[in-house]
């Protein structure tokens, strides 16, 4: 029901610079020297999904695809594997963005979980088709963690937009 919608702040417009900065931080997180990526939440995918849902005009399939290429190049993965998965992820998030935002945060997280899992299944299919090793169910744990981080991401990434217009000395942040 529309009336059940959680109370929302009126948000300021998002700044492109902030979006770029968050994407860069998420990318840096993904590039940390992980032993392997099993069980590590893919923060870049999460941030991409977040901006696709919240700012569909400022984030899109093309950017997601390009970031996927960066992941491919630095991971030594099959070139195009992450690009394809991220493009699909961005498309699904764009297609669902009006619907997702009507739900509470945890319900949104459930949607995001499905999107992330779908992109991982796509990657798995691509790699198995090209002769990779099956990495085990632990491969999907990262998506669970990333989806669990959705409420946190929603809080943190919206902080700049939640600032009051008139900033004075008493403003907390």
């Amino acid at each position: 029901m529309i009336l059940d919608r959680p109370a929302q702040h009126l948000l300021l417009p998002a700044k492109a610079g902030f979006i770029a900065a968050t994407v860069a931080v998420a990318l840096a997180f993904n590039l940390l020297p992980w032993q392997d990526l099993r069980g590590v939440p893919d923060l870049l995918a999460l941030v991409l999904t977040f901006w696709c849902v919240h700012q569909p005009r400022k984030m899109g399939i093309g950017i997601a695809w390009a970031l996927g290429l960066v992941m491919d190049a630095s991971n030594g993965a099959l070139f195009g594997q992450y690009a394809l998965a991220y493009a699909l992820l961005a498309y699904a998030a764009l297609a669902l963005h009006r619907r997702i935002l009507r739900f509470t945060l945890w319900q949104q997280a459930a949607h995001v979980l499905v999107l992330l899992l779908a992109s991982q299944v796509l990657m798995l299919a691509v790699r198995l088709a090209s002769g990779g090793t099956y990495p085990g169910l632990a491969f999907f744990v990262g998506s669970l963690l990333a989806a669990a981080l959705w409420p946190v991401a929603s809080y943190v990434l919206l902080i700049p937009q939640r600032r009051p217009v008139n900033v004075d000395d008493t403003t907390p942040l």
Binding site: A24, L27, A28, F29, L31, L32, P33, W34, Q35, D36, L37, R38, R57, G60, I61, G62, W65, G68, L69, V70, D72, A73, S74, N75, G76, A77, L78, F79, G80, Q81, A83, L84, A87, L88, Y91, L94, A95, V126, R127, S130, G131, G132, T133, P135, F139
Partner: protein, 304 residues
Amino acid sequence: MEHAPPQFFHRGPAPIARLTFFALLSILLMVLDARFRYAEPLRQVIAIAVYPVQQIALAPFTAITQVREFFTTQTELRRENTELHAQQLKEAQDRLTLEALRAENDQLRQLLEARSKFSTDAIFAEIVYAGRDPFSRKVIIDKGSQQGVQGGQAVIHTDGLIGQVTRVQPLLAEVTLITDKDHAIPVQVLRNGLRGVAYGSGDGATLELRYMAANAEIAQGDVLVTSGIDGVYPRGLPVARVTKIERDSAYAFAKIACQPVAGIDQFREVLVLGKVEEAPAWSDESNRAAKRGGKAKRSRRGES
């Protein structure tokens, strides 16, 4: 009069069209990469562009390591020093005889007119991180083409072979471990010289010795060394130890599992060996001669 829609409604191609475009582009790239390896230059450009971000992400960890190394206690250093001295003494004998053996070997090879098998220049490298791709077994080392690393070089640790350089960037190189599913090494049983090919099993810990006859003379605990017939790995590097043999009369081949001798995941420093000198090309001329020579000659070559 024309009514152009306001700017707000211009959104470019429909999302599904964009998705199709980018998906096709990705598939094209994947095919080019997997089948023809055409994507390497683009990969290198992106890798160089991302290198600073990667270094920034790594910075805290490098700092922690440096601080920890700085505060290594004196007792620890003394203990390590004593151990190293003991080890050096132990190895002194080998080292002294090695020189003599090497000279003798050179002389014998000259007599046989065979070229020297080992090139001596090796590059010391450190593992920066284990490859993050969960579908393959790779590590990234901190030396690249600028330091003279080339694709195809063998990488060893003190105990034995760990892998092969498969992709070289200017400052980093990617080493495929011998446990990777797509990796195969021609090996030889040290005890009796029986040859075979060991494949990575992909589970990260073991290798498989495939296509060995069920009655092949091989036993648990046998050490496998590189046979050197591929022209990639120098001869005689320890590779793995046979841990399990299943002989089933229903199958023509035995199922042989091996454990790498060099603890693949437990060290930081590795040595990238110089490239083995390429054997002279096998000419058609000699091929035909061999065919004319009949079966006896060919089988003899197969044995030797």
